[in-house]
């Protein structure tokens, strides 16, 4: 009886792996759901429209790029990586941002950051963050139009689903509304301005957008992201190293200042629960492709993200620095990997 088939298949091991790329990405998508739900609850249906738009653009662009590159389309579309990129991007932009923001963002993400480097697994920079930084730098006005979270008086004015659709596609608010009336500075904006004007933290925090320990609404959204992230760690889709390194470093780095002078330095929790830090720690910085592979490398990567985020938040020109920090660390990841190789069995260090 003969068993000769493709020579390739003769090598061990003879058990195929059980895990697949698609399964991993699908679990990440599932883990994002609670956070998305919370965001929709606090900021309205605009979030869902942005997600739908971005996913649509991302998948069509991915399809086009795969065709151009001559790669198997069905296979690579079913790995869901483009969908994750699109959702992460959509969660970072204001809910009523015009439709072309996601188009431009997705071109930057899928075409430039991903497929110019050869597609899945070969990109150097996190595509979602490239997209966000591109639109943030190019369209600062549109990107600062954040809405008030549910629970504030202004939030009563928020447009419904149809009106949101209309706003996103026309770029104009319904006649009875104006941007000034409904847009609201994020807690991090206020904090930054306040500290620059030498106001007391307790004074700044009196603004209604602040919640119990972070921004109102934001803190709950962060909790739900963390929930999904912890599930991912439990499922071993991501390792604990990067999220723990980021959050622990933020606490350790901000604790001394707060202990020294609580009146002019915000409590460490404030840093964690406002802005995109939790989302970044669990879902963005943990992108395996653009991160580090070894355990020590991951810890260093996390520390770097935390350090750079705080640097930009405290002294830089932007209120939040997670996206920049992740991109900067992406840039250093190959170098970190190079110098944090684990010790091989029986070899000296």
């Amino acid at each position: 009886m003969n068993f000769s088939r493709g020579f390739n298949n003769m090598g061990s091991p003879h058990l195929p792996p059980e895990n697949t790329v698609g399964k991993i990405m699908l679990q990440v998508l599932l883990a994002l759901l609670p956070g998305i739900a919370a965001m929709t609850w606090f900021f309205g249906a605009g979030i869902l429209i942005q997600i739908a738009l971005s996913v649509l653009f991302a998948v069509s662009l991915e399809w086009a790029m795969l065709k151009l590159h001559g790669k198997p389309v069905r296979l690579f579309l079913s790995d869901y990586s483009a969908v994750i990129t699109a959702i992460l991007f959509a969660l970072c932009i204001p809910p009523l941002a015009p439709w072309w923001i996601s188009l431009i963002g997705m071109i930057a993400a899928i075409v430039v950051a991903k497929h110019l480097y050869g597609g899945l697994g070969q990109n150097v920079f996190n595509p979602a963050m490239v997209a966000y930084v591109v639109v943030l730098i190019a369209f600062p006005l549109e990107l600062t139009r954040w809405l008030p979270p549910r629970g504030l008086a202004e939030a009563e004015l928020l447009p419904g689903l149809l009106q949101s659709l209309q706003t996103i596609f026309s770029g104009h608010l319904p006649v009875n509304l104006s941007w000034d009336a409904i847009t609201q500075a994020t807690p991090l904006d206020l904090l930054k301005d306040g500290v620059e004007q030498n106001r007391m933290i307790s004074e700044i925090r009196r603004a209604p957008v602040f919640g119990n320990y972070g921004g109102r609404g934001w803190e709950w959204i962060a909790n739900f992201y963390a929930l999904g992230g912890i599930w991912l760690i439990w499922r071993r889709v991501i390792s604990w190293h990067i999220p723990v390194a980021i959050i622990a470093s933020v606490i350790i780095l901000t604790l001394p200042a707060w202990l020294y002078d609580p009146s002019s330095n915000p409590i460490p929790l404030e840093h964690i629960f406002s802005g995109a830090l939790v989302l970044g720690a669990f879902f963005i910085a943990t992108d395996p492709v653009t991160g580090c592979a070894s355990r020590r490398g991951k810890l260093i990567f996390g520390l770097g993200v935390a350090l750079l985020t705080l640097t930009i938040r405290l002294w830089g020109g932007y209120p939040d620095g997670v996206a920049f920090a992740v991109l900067l660390m992406n840039m250093f990841a190959p170098l970190i990997d190079r110098y944090t190789r684990p010790r091989a069995y029986g070899k000296p260090r």
């Binding site: 930084v133 730098i137 020109g317 920049f324 170098l335």
Partner: protein, 193 residues
Amino acid sequence: MSEYLLILVSTVLANNFVLVRFLGLCPFMGVSNKVEGAIGMAIATAFVLTLSSASSYLVYTWLLVPFDLTYLSTLSFILVIAVMVQLTEMIMHKTSPLLYRVLGIFLPLITTNCAVLGVALLNVQEHHNLLQSALYGFGAATGFGLVLVAFAAVREKVAMADVPVHFKGAAIGLVTAGLMSLAFMGFSGLANL
């Protein structure tokens, strides 16, 4: 003290000579194929930049200003830089012939690295003293070296990626440099001098 720290932070991050001011792009693209070469280039540039910015300061304040010859500053700075580069080249040829070989044409090209002349001229423009000038040069070189080495590591990775044919090599290198520059935009507003 904080002033010196600010000079460092500014030159390394916020006003990084390569990614924010777009100076010194020639060696940045040329000597970033291998991390080892990049490290060598970074060290050589640091050496040249620190020395040349200090010595061009000396030439400026002690020769050009007293004799009222400041209009010759560009010319004499180039002279100083050329000498420094020659010196570095000789020392490197002696101590590390292979690195000398790897850096190849780019070593003498430090002379024309616009970052080097840029630093010397900016020192004059910003009225730095000797220590500040040297620090400014050193900071610029550190920023240059930091991104050069990181860029080299990235390019080593990209070299093994399945990049579309038309973008292989320098093209994808420039795209990468652009994205790195984008990331460095995050430092804008940091340490405004």
